[in-house]
């Protein structure tokens, strides 16, 4: 079976010419469907750049990126938008909810851009809010919720459109330890349900929760190991 994510010789160079910065230096990475993968690295290691590439927020300077059969490296802006909408669910460190929309409206957003009709949209959004245990908070605005709850709304938003890949960028970075545990628990459940999860973090403790750990240093993959303690 074709892997879900296939990255070959991916490079990203900022400021080409003088003061070149090689943020990614010939990265090779293959992710199968259903994997729970942590990408770990210190700030400046290139992990954020890799996450932007994997999330189709940016295109590499050179190299190949195949996501679920599509050649992302050659795509234009609009095609990238469509791919992000269809293939990827984002969970950000800062939650990134839209402040003047309710929880339900936030979860509905990717479904609107997918062009799903109002009724189906609502059902899907309510279902995914129920999955993260927020069925009673649907009409609340982000400012009326705790950090943990906001991140759960963000997770509901990420899974609402049922994308094959969930990309979580430091999802617990802004949360207390209790909420962090909760969020990681949800991610694990999602993995058990068959979702492919890529977790980006600088924290070894968080990375240890994943089944496979990829360590990035200076734009290169330093190690790529299966977590023996994964449960």
């Amino acid at each position: 079976m074709e892997p879900l994510i296939q990255v070959r010789d991916m490079c990203k160079v900022y400021n080409p010419g003088e003061n070149e910065v090689h943020a990614l230096d010939h990265i090779n990475l293959t992710v199968q469907k259903g994997e729970f993968l942590a990408i770990i690295g210190q700030s400046g290691s290139g992990k954020s750049t890799l996450m932007n590439m994997l999330g189709c927020l940016d295109v590499p300077t050179s190299g190949e990126y195949h996501l679920n059969g599509s050649d992302v490296a050659a795509m234009n802006d609009n095609e990238l938008s469509v791919i992000r909408n269809k293939e990827i669910g984002f969970i950000f460190q800062g939650f990134n909810l839209i402040p003047n929309l309710t929880a339900l409206e936030n979860v509905e957003l990717p479904l609107i851009y997918r062009g799903i009709d109002r009724k189906t949209r609502k059902t899907l959004a309510v279902n995914s809010l129920r999955m993260v245990g927020l069925e009673k908070r649907m009409t609340h605005k982000p400012s009326e919720m705790s950090g943990g709850q906001q991140q759960r709304v963000a997770i509901a938003r990420a899974i609402a459109a049922k994308p094959p890949v969930i990309l979580a960028d430091e999802p617990t970075g802004n949360l207390d330890s209790a909420s962090s545990k909760e969020i990681l628990q949800i991610l694990k459940e999602m993995h058990r349900d068959g979702k492919t999860i890529i977790l980006i973090t600088h924290d070894d403790g968080i990375a240890a929760q994943a089944r496979r750990v990829v360590r990035i240093l200076d734009g290169r993959i330093e190690s790529d190991v299966i977590n023996p303690n994964f449960s």
């Binding site: 927020l57 802006d77 938008s81 992000r84 909408n85 003047n100 990717p110 851009y113 997918r114």
Partner: protein, 411 residues
């Protein structure tokens, strides 16, 4: 495209979430549209009123003048010419000689200047004035140059303190000659109009007398450099004008000499309407500038909004919003703001026009009502919509072209 409705909904949502700012943004458009509508409808109302008054005072009238060349050659319009015009041109209902002058009279109420209009028995056809007492002088009075006159009830009251004056005499002095005219009829002075039939304090007393009776003051009574022809109101007065010139040229053997010049009432109306249109147009143009400023205000606020919502735009893009989706959302926002502003502006403008007309009517004794036309309102709506879209494009493009990474990075 069903998604378009979603973008409009997002726009409305955002406008409602920032009510105060949205209103301030609209204010420029509201003021701009309101002033244009107000000026246009007051202008239209004034034009309508003027046309109506002029129409009742002079529809169908054609003024005929002798040119300088004609007068130098000793050619004037004679009473016989006037008869010929009546007889030979179908549609000519009456011809009035342009003769008259202002003399003085003294009564028990004081000294007055008195303006005599040399007329024929057909004079009442020229206006809608009604006879109140007695009758207008007849053809025989004109033929025999009887010294009779017709006066308005208002002027009669000024001279004698009563309008029951049929049979009384008025002594008129002019050219050091004093003659006495017997009043045979009293007309009803029409209600004050605003522009044309306007009266004022101290204006002379007007009386109509048979033009032949003026002979005793001045020999030139049977030569006129100016007459007025009354054509059937239903007829094309420029066609009648052409025939008038033809008949006069034939009688004076002056074809090609340009002796007789005509100006039909239609020409005057057209000139007047063009003038009013130009004035209204110019003021509207000035008001339109404020609309432009309003549009720039919308652009300015939308630009601020784009900067403020950079992060939101980044989130939307990361969730799959295309450049066109963001563009549509922001364009919809500025279009809704301006159209809504335009709508409020139209209502305020019409209310303002109504207010101005009411105030002018009551304080200046005018009779004005605002003119209102569907094309005007439609035009204003379309224009404000165009302003919104035009001034919305730049901010919307700026928003839509943000790179999602850049946008997400910003706080």
């Amino acid at each position: 495209m069903s998604n378009f409705i979603e973008y409009v909904k997002m726009a409305i949502h955002n406008i409602m979430a920032n009510k105060g700012r949205s209103f301030l943004t609209m204010l420029g458009i509201i003021i701009g549209i309101a002033s244009v509508i107000m000026i246009m409808s007051v202008g239209q109302g004034t034009t309508n009123q003027m046309n109506e008054e002029i129409d009742s005072a002079g529809a169908g009238q054609i003024q005929v003048m002798c040119s300088n060349d004609a007068m130098n050659a000793g050619e004037y319009i004679t009473p016989e010419d006037m008869d010929a015009l009546m007889d030979q041109i179908p549609g000519v209902e009456a011809v009035a000689p342009g003769s008259g002058w202002t003399g003085t009279t003294a009564t028990g109420k004081g000294d007055f200047s008195i303006s005599l209009t040399g007329a024929t028995e057909t004079q009442p056809l020229f206006s809608t004035t009604q006879i109140k007492r007695g009758h207008y002088f007849n053809a025989q009075d004109v033929e025999e140059a009887r010294k009779v006159c017709v006066i308005s009830d208002k002027d009669a009251k000024r001279l004698f303190g009563s309008d029951d004056v049929v049979g009384m005499d008025i002594d008129v002095e002019y050219n050091n000659i004093s003659k006495s005219f017997t009043i045979v009829g009293v007309t009803q002075q029409p209600e004050n109009g605003t522009f044309v039939t306007y009266t004022y304090e101290g204006m002379p007393v007007y009386i109509d007398v048979p033009y032949t009776a003026l002979q005793e003051y001045d020999d030139s009574y049977n030569e006129f450099y100016y007459i007025v022809v009354l054509a059937d109101r239903e007829m094309d007065s420029s066609a009648v004008s052409d025939q008038v010139v033809k008949v006069l040229d034939a009688r004076h053997q002056s074809a090609g000499e340009d002796y007789f010049q005509v100006q039909s009432f239609q020409d005057i109306m057209a000139t007047l309407n063009t003038m009013m249109g130009a004035i209204t147009g110019f003021i509207s143009f000035v008001a339109g500038i404020s609309l432009l400023v309003g549009g720039i205000g919308v652009m300015n606020i939308m630009l601020v909004s784009v900067t403020e919502r950079t992060r939101e735009i980044g989130i939307r893009k990361s969730l799959g919003a295309k450049t066109s989706s963001i563009m549509a959302q922001f364009l919809a926002e500025s279009a809704i703001l301006t159209v809504l502003g335009g709508f409020i502006g139209i209502l305020l403008g019409l209310a303002g026009a109504y207010g101005i007309c009411t105030i002018l009517s009551s304080s200046q004794g005018m009779d004005l009502s605002p003119g209102f036309s569907i094309p005007m309102v439609l035009g204003a709506t379309l224009f404000s919509c165009a302003v919104g879209i035009f001034f919305g494009i730049y901010p919307a493009r700026k928003a839509a072209r943000l790179s999602p990474i850049e946008a997400l990075r910003r706080n």
